[in-house]
């Protein structure tokens, strides 16, 4: 890790629609191991927010516990963040979202934080369709406690001690698909060309957006025999690139109609998905599940936007919540007053 963050910036850094440079989306210097995949994810989040011109202070970052959950310190220093309890970020995000539906929520978790201790909350977060982007930095091992297998470690993957994992790994993307998530994607920390537009699309999506990012652990899970090392992952990727065209921007590139699918998001943004095959339909949940499972059976990792339903009801809508954020309501809206209480008393006599 480095311990000094350079303050120097190129004087002609590009600016976004808000007049911000990418530096306005920086966080503190990372304390993760040099070469950690998670730092690439942090950079992708920073770049995605910059490119989408989201005001940094209108983003709230939430995380659980683990290497992954330290990440929110390392991007978006002008955003509030909450490093909560191991495996319990989904509930914090749910409460935060109920309190203020006006912010953009980015949750960062890990494979231990989500697939083990946080499995219950993760599933229920999907079930409630909380409007947020949920990124799992998935490296198949516990980093902060020095390399134990996690629940997403693949069957047979060899850990740092040389032992092959005897259990089937939990595939979070498949699980999210099965549970009805409205936006499911998978990517690789080393593929920023894919990850950045995915994050932008996830933030533009109104509802729960899940991105499972294979993010190798350089220290404990980057050796021969590990199925989540850099080289192993790179060699087995089946990538479906995509472009994200935000609302109001002109679509310039032309695409091959057979293998490209365009999906318009709720806010008018468009995703152009370059599919692995012309049969693949990103709006077909069963087909997406089949494709993910088939790739897995063939020892491949299918990345890209796997499934998207742009027209879902998020939790705020399901609960028919007021349009104004609940945290802005005052006495007039909330307190029924003494006359109402007197009539309640009367009914209790």
């Amino acid at each position: 890790m480095s311990y000094i963050k350079p303050k120097f910036r190129h004087p002609n850094l590009p600016i976004n629609a808000l007049g911000n440079t990418v530096a306005d989306y920086d966080g503190a210097i990372s304390t993760l191991c040099a070469g950690c995949g998670h730092d690439s994810i942090s950079a992708a989040i920073r770049n995605a927010c910059f490119k989408s011109s989201v005001p940094p202070h209108r983003i709230a970052k939430v995380s659980g516990i683990g290497c992954s959950s330290k990440m929110p310190t390392y991007f978006l220093g002008k955003s509030h963040g909450f490093n909560s309890v191991h495996g319990r970020m989904p509930s914090v995000a749910t409460g935060a979202s109920l309190a203020n539906r006006g912010l953009t929520y980015i949750g960062v978790s890990g494979d231990g934080d989500t697939a083990s201790i946080g499995m219950g909350q993760f599933i229920h977060l999907i079930r409630r369709n909380v409007n947020m982007t949920y990124i799992v930095a998935n490296n198949g091992c516990y980093g902060l406690t020095k390399g134990q297998d996690s629940a997403t470690a693949d069957l047979g993957s060899v850990n740092k001690q040389g032992a092959a994992n005897p259990f089937d790994g939990i595939d979070l993307a498949s699980l999210a698909l099965l549970q009805g998530a409205s936006f499911v994607a998978r990517s690789f920390s080393g593929d920023k060309d894919q990850l950045e537009p995915l994050i932008r699309a996830a933030m533009a999506h109104k509802g729960f957006a899940f991105i499972d990012v294979v993010s190798p652990c350089v220290t404990f899970n980057n050796h021969a025999g590990s199925t989540k090392s850099y080289s192993q992952t790179r060699d087995h990727l089946d990538m479906m690139p995509l472009d994200f065209v935000p609302m109001r921007e002109e679509i310039r590139t032309s695409y091959d109609a057979g293998t490209t699918q365009g999906i318009t998001l709720h806010d008018g943004s468009v995703i152009h998905l370059h599919k692995a095959s012309s049969e693949y339909q990103a709006d077909d949940r069963a087909a997406a599940l089949h494709a993910v499972q088939s790739a897995h059976d063939a020892g491949r990792i299918l990345t890209g936007l796997l499934y998207l339903d742009p027209d879902t009801q998020d939790l705020n809508q399901s609960l028919n919540l007021a349009t104004r954020p609940l945290n802005e309501l005052g006495k007039d809206e909330l307190c029924p007053g003494s006359r109402v209480l007197d009539s309640i008393n009367e009914g209790l006599r």
């Binding site: 490093n83 006495k331 209480l341």
Partner: protein
């Protein structure tokens, strides 16, 4: 045979099978006494079961206005053969026993020191009503009718109550009234009515209860209303007896009072979480983001929430938790009352934690303290736990009416808005600018450039920057102690009453009693009983933790202090010993942990016993220090 006599002063108990509709009939009986203007306190003693197990409903009538349990039963109404043998045995000598004599009473169950009243409830209902459902339900109403005759309960009030209850369902009203009349008539024709124990309007010795136009309500409903009036917008919870009705009531009132008139949308959110871990997480997340949020739970839920309570303590986040206490873990006694979460709540979580607790003793206090909890949790930036219990939460209590001052505003504590951040010279989330241990917080989304920080548990410095420095940690947790000290002046103060004068005291010792919550009513009654016997005891009712300095002073100014509570380990006593500078031997535990609420007789008996055995060992305070 000498029969128990008493006007407006007796205990009636109903023994039923649960799931047979007895609860509403028994409630009708109690509510009618309340409507007569006579102090009454009903208690449901029920199993963790939907249908088939024994259940009891105890109604205390007390002209003196004692609302706690007295102990003992003067009249038993038994329609449950399963429990009949024990029920008969539990009646006081000279008492009364009403039963369904469709089947004759087994001769070995007879007692010659109590009076039996047989009424063929089943036979009458089989004859008069058509469906099995009605035959079962109305059996309960028939005995209420009979009780009206036996105890001089005003019949017209019963009819009024039925009319209120079944408004618009005329058929139900007429069959219920018919059942009432059947019972009333049978009792009048077959027995000498009314009995020596009876009800009479007026002539109570407790005018304070009648003058203030008391209401009859349970603590859970009152707490739910407190959450409405306190401005709660987010409720996250997981169903658990006996706290479930808090959120049920909140939902009911919110649906009525919190719908935006323009859009028809909700100015509140209720989420039934997947478990208590998630429920408190949502509350903490919502509080972090500036909404007033709460959860309601009970023992096992409190345990599950402990991790988050610790985080909220260290991260200094608001959260209101309504803990309706019950007996210990798992199945067995979830429907029985205790005050056994005191220590678990006071020190909830790992690390050095202390939580703010409030101890309501009446529905009115459940309301007031819940409202106050929402202010306190934001003023102090720490969780606040309302320590109710099953007895208070689920039973109907006579209570002063709920009051609201329309000028009252929410106190959101030290929160900087964008303007405040611009004006602040130097802002750090954990900088103790005012010296009271309470720092200025900011909410997400407030200001484009200022006030953002990363909320964490233990490892941070005053500027909210990650730190593993021991000095930073110590500075932070010491400030949290200072904040807890500040809290002493924010939380409700203990209540004292003028001591009861005893002309010729039988002891030279200065005696005191400390109690809280539902132990209060029977404690006051026990103290009056003991005063009449020549033992003056000063009282103090604890209403909050951290302890107010007057609690320390109270203990110091007495030779012997009884700590009356409903758990095995004397948890409040231990908490006092832990937190106050006092010799532990001064505090004598008076405990009940059977799961049924503590009684005045039980308390008085234990204090008598202690006075007999301990008095000799205690050296009275020097007059100057007393």
């Amino acid at each position: 045979m000498k029969q128990i006599k008493g006007v407006n002063d007796f205990v009636v108990k109903f023994a039923n099978v649960n799931g047979t509709g007895s609860a509403s009939a028994n409630h009708l009986f109690a509510k009618a006494i309340f409507r007569m203007g006579i102090p009454v306190s009903p208690r449901n003693i029920f199993p963790s079961n939907i249908q088939g197990l024994p259940t009891w409903y105890e109604v205390r009538v007390s002209k003196n206005g004692y609302l706690g349990r007295r102990g003992g039963v003067d009249m038993m109404v038994c329609v449950n053969p399963q429990s009949m043998e024990k029920d008969i045995a539990s009646v006081e000598p000279g008492g009364y026993f009403l039963y369904d004599n469709t089947k004759p009473l087994a001769p070995h169950l007879k007692r010659d020191d109590i009076t039996f009243f047989g009424i063929p409830l089943t036979e009458m209902c089989m004859r008069e009503f058509e469906t099995p459902r009605l035959q079962q339900l109305l059996k309960n109403v028939v005995y209420v009718g009979a009780m009206a005759a036996l105890l001089n309960l005003k019949f017209s009030i019963l009819k009024d109550l039925l009319n209120d209850q079944f408004k618009g369902k005329e058929k139900l009203i007429s069959s219920n009234v018919q059942a009432l009349e059947m019972g009333y008539q049978y009792a009048t024709e077959n027995y000498n009515c009314p009995l020596p124990i009876r009800l009479e309007m007026g002539g109570n010795a407790a005018p304070h209860i009648l003058e203030s136009e008391h209401i009859l309500m349970n603590g859970n409903t009152a707490a739910a209303l407190g959450a409405i009036y306190g401005g709660a917008t987010v409720a996250a919870w997981y169903p658990i007896t006996p706290s479930t009705s808090v959120v049920d009531a909140f939902a009911k009132y919110a649906q009525r009072m919190r719908i935006d008139p323009g859009s028809g949308k909700k100015n509140f959110a209720i989420v039934q979480a997947e478990d208590e871990l998630a429920a408190i997480g949502m509350v903490v997340g919502a509080g972090w983001n500036g909404a007033r949020a709460f959860t309601a739970t009970s023992g096992p839920g409190l345990s599950l929430m402990s991790e988050f309570l610790g985080l909220a303590y260290f991260a200094e986040l608001p959260a209101v938790l309504i803990n309706v206490q019950r007996s210990g873990p798992s199945t067995g006694m979830p429907t029985r009352s205790q005050q056994s979460d005191v220590l678990a709540a006071a020190y909830a979580s790992h690390g050095d934690t202390k939580q703010v607790l409030l101890f309501p003793a009446t529905p009115r206090e459940c309301f007031d303290m819940t409202v106050q909890a929402f202010d306190l949790t934001e003023q102090l930036q720490t969780p606040v736990i309302l320590m109710s219990d099953l007895d208070l939460g689920m039973n109907d209590w006579m209570s002063p009416p709920l009051e609201w001052d329309d000028d009252r505003c929410m106190d959101r504590g030290k929160v900087l808005d964008a303007d405040g951040l611009d004006k602040a010279e130097k802002w750090g989330r954990y900088l103790d600018v005012d010296g009271d241990g309470i720092c200025y917080r900011t909410l997400p989304g407030t200001h484009p450039d200022k006030g953002a920080f990363f909320t964490r548990g233990s490892s941070k410095n005053e500027m909210a920057v990650y730190s593993e420095s021991g000095d930073d940690y110590v500075q932070n947790v010491d400030r949290l102690l200072r904040k807890f000290d500040t809290a002493k002046s924010y939380v409700p103060k203990p209540k004292t009453h003028p001591p009861i004068e005893v002309k010729k005291p039988k002891t030279e010792l200065k005696l005191g009693a400390l109690f809280f919550g539902t132990s209060a009513s029977p404690s006051y009654e026990a103290v009056e009983m003991l005063a009449a016997e020549g033992y003056p005891i000063d009282t103090m009712r604890i209403r909050a933790f951290p302890f107010h300095a007057s609690i320390d002073a109270f203990i110091h100014s007495h030779d012997l202090v009884f700590v009356i509570e409903q758990n095995r380990d004397g948890q409040m006593r231990r908490l006092i010993i832990n937190e106050c500078e006092i010799p532990p031997g001064k505090l004598m535990p008076v405990l009940n942990y059977s799961g049924t609420p503590i009684t005045a007789r039980n308390i008085a008996g234990k204090i008598r016993e202690t006075l007999k055995t301990k008095s000799a060992d205690v050296v009275p305070l020097h007059p100057e220090t007393a």
